[in-house]
Subunit: 179 residues, 2 copies
């Protein structure tokens, strides 16, 4: 039930509506735990029943009502409980690696690899921009900010390694005549 905790972390940082959360998940926290709005609404409902979050309705003029969720003390306690435990090994599920093993169509692989590379480059740029903007002086970081920065560093190294892998694949394919 890790989406629960991702949402709790996000609500701990700041109260939000389901819609707001969905947009946050498209950006910051969703880089490490993607989720759609449908999923988020469902989990919010479940957590509200469990007493981990509470909601207040806000009227807005010219807009639909907004249901703002906030984390409760029980929710904070649950976060603590969860944070004290160990996280297991994360499953890697890579269609792309499976496709490499299949190795059916080198041209298609090369094409796919180039697209993936561009993707990694774009995301790396976004991460690096974030880092420069929000964490210009990493040595001074503490607590929550330190954690967020370390998570971002993980993202940066993931993208870099993705680019390197793509380059390795492209080099190997080119060396053997596929363009």
């Amino acid at each position: 039930m890790a989406l629960d905790h991702a949402i709790l972390v996000s609500l701990h940082e700041r109260a939000a509506s389901g819609y707001d959360l969905a947009r946050r998940f498209d950006a910051s926290i969703g880089y490490f735990w993607p989720a759609s709005h449908q999923q988020i609404y469902r989990v919010l409902a479940r957590m509200q029943e469990a007493g981990w979050v509470e909601s207040t309705l806000q009227e807005q003029d010219g807009r639909p009502d907004k249901k703002t969720y906030a984390i409760t003390p029980d929710g904070e306690a649950e976060l603590d409980r969860w944070a004290a435990g160990a996280t297991g090994r994360e499953a890697i599920r890579s269609d792309f690696a499976v496709k490499l093993r299949a190795f059916r169509d080198p041209e298609a692989i090369a094409l796919d690899t180039r697209a993936r590379r561009a993707d990694h480059v774009a995301r790396l740029a976004a991460y690096e921009a974030s880092e420069a903007r929000f964490y210009p002086n990493p040595r001074a970081l503490e607590g929550n900010d330190l954690g967020s920065w370390l998570a971002l560093r993980g993202g940066i190294s993931t993208e870099r390694r993705g680019i390197e892998w793509c380059d390795e694949i492209l080099t190997a394919l080119e060396g053997r005549g596929s363009r």
Copy 2:
């Protein structure tokens, strides 16, 4: 439906029973697409109905009967079709990164990080042993072997980056007084 294709790739390499596949998934191909035997049996049944695989019963003395699955021409065609398309971006789901963002208990994080690091080291060693054993001369590789080697290279770089990230986290935590 990527488990389907992972199984097809595996059956293309060699026919196997559900049980055999489950063990393969614990080792080679499962590094990139983990799956339990329960899942595998379910997907095999579905693919047999679709005509992508076929099974033959083998009697064995002193052992339960073995149902050996093989890929059919339709299955091969499906693999081709799938291999020609592009793979989308892979979702990263990392409890650990979420936990870093929560940053509730630095001691617990340090402990967890050390455990993860040990895990990465072990898996890296396994990958490197495979590489030395099965692909001593990468430049000479072609076709299927080249693909498998490139997939393995991806695994190796993933583990290396995991170790580096853990070290970065531990350094940051130590620099601030958590052991």
